[in-house]
Amino acid sequence: MLPYSGSVSLVSSFLFPPLQFVPPPNRSDWLCVVTPSVRRVTRSSDWSKSRRFPTGLAHSPAEDSLKMAASLRCFLRSGKKAVSALGQREFHRSAPAAAQVTVRDALNQAMDEELERDERVFLLGEEVAQYDGAYKVSRGLWKKYGDKRIIDTPISEMGFAGIAVGAAMAGLRPICEFMTFNFSMQAIDQVINSAAKTCYMSAGLQAVPIVFRGPNGASAGVAAQHSQCFAAWYAHCPGLKVVSPWNSEDAKGLLKSSIRDDNPVVFLENELLYGVPFEMSEEAQSKDFTIPIGKAKVERAGSHITLVSHSRYVGHCLDAAAVLAKEGIECEVINLRTIRPMDVESIEASVMKTNHLVTVEGGWPQFGVGAEICARIMEGSAFNYLDSPVTRVTGVDIPMPYAKILEDHSLPQIKDIIFSLHNLVLIIVRNGNYSFVFAEFLICPYLAATKPNLH
């Protein structure tokens, strides 16, 4: 039943009354797991290192599971709205004088502040000026700064991306907006060959301080040609920095850092997040708030499993973590923030703590961000701490369909993240007794409850 045996995860609380366990097919492997104190140094060595067994709260599991199933059903049925509703839930900690700021407003603030701070910064792209931005991200900027600094371009991506790169070479600091990153494919030669490689080819003589920004990845109902995720494409190339913010704080801090950076930065936003409000602390609202490029953030601390994600799916991970927390599985959620250079150290530190890793992204699986994380973890020191292979939760390997039901099922949902745990065997501690349950049994109520209603 299991593709491998002997991998376990520890659960902290009373969950169910001790279940009749079904022994794994390979009885000998299972036997090697059964020691009162489980100690682990390497995967293949004997299990002699003791583990902490954190205790959790006791509560009625059955009632909770029903409630959870119902709420999960609600999430998945209401789709986008649910995500935004979740955005306001209590696990986003609030600070004094914090404000609810949408990602759109955060980006607007960041650009406004940088335009004011440095004369050389200017914005160009389609519909950024008089239309106030195709997604209203640059609202009000043209009225404030005028034609010289907010430039509407004709529909010539390759042309205006090249012009932006040329202006950067000559000493300005352009922000080049692509209406979506799908259109950046028209201009990808300018981004890679003219912007990314120039500093290296000129041995540092010629810098290109430019930011390419725009919405990336799937939107709602825009079909195949407008829904591709370019994180993996751009992150492949040396000479570029690729940044993918999630919430308002990320958006503002990272955009400011990107504009102040003397190198080409690809700033991948997400259209579905534009209207989502997030708490922004007082500090984050200040004019000099920047987030360093290349550092990930642990959004939620946990000890049982690590979920790594970027952009919109960080929200999904946090929701899945909330669901699993009710079962006592504490997930650590890492928001990558920067795809290139990737903060592998944070992921490794987390894996060394939790021993399990799941990567979540919206892009296609082949040669994607998750694939890179898997390879890096495998090559690094954290490999010895893994108790199970890394799971990648990705978009389905198809061009994006249009029909809502097909679209919903071609992107990772919360249930997919929960499902990624299904291979694991959990040790349940109760009164010093150990019981084993396949996680599949634990989470299948959530998965069953969310079966689509096919009319």
Partner: protein, 443 residues
Amino acid sequence: MCFSQTPEKKRWQQRWFCRYCRQRRRRAAPEGQRLTEGRICAVQGLCWASLGKMLTNISNVLRACAQRNGAAAVVSARTYADFTNEATFEIKKCDTFKLDEGPATQVVMTRDEGLQYYRTMQTMRRMELKADQLYKQKIIRGFCHLYDGQEACAVGIEAAINLSDHLITAYRAHGYTYTRGGTVKKIMAELTGRRGGIAKGKGGSMHMYCKHFYGGNGIVGAQVPLGAGVALACKYQGNSELCVCLYGDGAANQGQIFETYNMAALWKLPVIFICENNGYGMGTSVERAAASTDYFKRGEFIPGVRVDGMDVLCVREASRFAADYCRSGKGPILMELQTYRYHGHSMSDPGVSYRTREEIQEVRSKSDPISMLKDRMLSNNMASVEELKEIDVEVRKEIEDAAQFATTDPEPPLEDLCNHIFHNNPPLEVRGTNPWSKLKSVS
């Protein structure tokens, strides 16, 4: 001029210095030895260049005093060796498109200018031929696109603009790297991939950079939007600089060029688009590649000029005209330089499968830019054969020295492998070919 002082000699340096320009020179014997450039007269204590300068100054003053109108007057001043200082030349009329008047057809060239153009073109020619030689010896590898035959374009353009203006071109860039301020030594060392190269050996033939020169671009046509962007920066910053943006007849069919024409004209960017039409886009002649071979008309809403690109004065005059047009804020202008390359597209192309040797020979004998300039100068008594030969010898020596440097300079150190990925960045670690090799990268 009644000086009869001996030239100043600083005893402790054992050298002779000219009294006017204070340059170190070799001493010519008081009698009998001809005073040529690089020597100092033992009697007058002045060197060749200084004599010329002094006489030019005197003649300028005299000219300013005299009533003079337009370019019709020809003033000749006698130098020590009895050369004409300045002459007027009649050049070919340029075809224009959407322009009321074109560049002037009567141009004035001074002796100094002529010598400078000659020296520069000869240096470029020798440099390219040397690169050919080194490539055949496998000391230069990869791509090597040679510019011989087209020297008049680079020299003429540079004569019309300032070093504070900007220039960007495609991969046939060795000539422009030189005119924009790169030295032959650094260019050749870059071709051979040594640490003394202009890009420390990391760029190669197609990626040479210096101040206000943005390469050297390998992707055909990609440099044109970049050039317009540089012009946008010039306009944004309000300096009266312009950008000269060059591309070939093959690149003229690229879509991004038309996108750039549109935006440059829309925003009135100070950019001169120059199409160097050498008749062949790699191996495809212009008739086989373009529905319209009037490249100067391709701008449609941008005025254009078609120029004889083998005549350095024609190119210079047209570039001056274009630069004035741009600087007056009228927006972009297009120039087509009709020129020719003697070598094939690159060193891997013999250049004879799509054109005949006779054609190459004909152009070489009838329209070679260096020969044309030489004939002009000699026939107008602006220089002597020996003088030009001396320049040839000096140029040859310079190229030899540069080639020597380029072959003996060590290659870049391995520590440099991962450097310069980013600019102004804290040091970072770069993955090597295997997971255990972690290489250091500094900006």
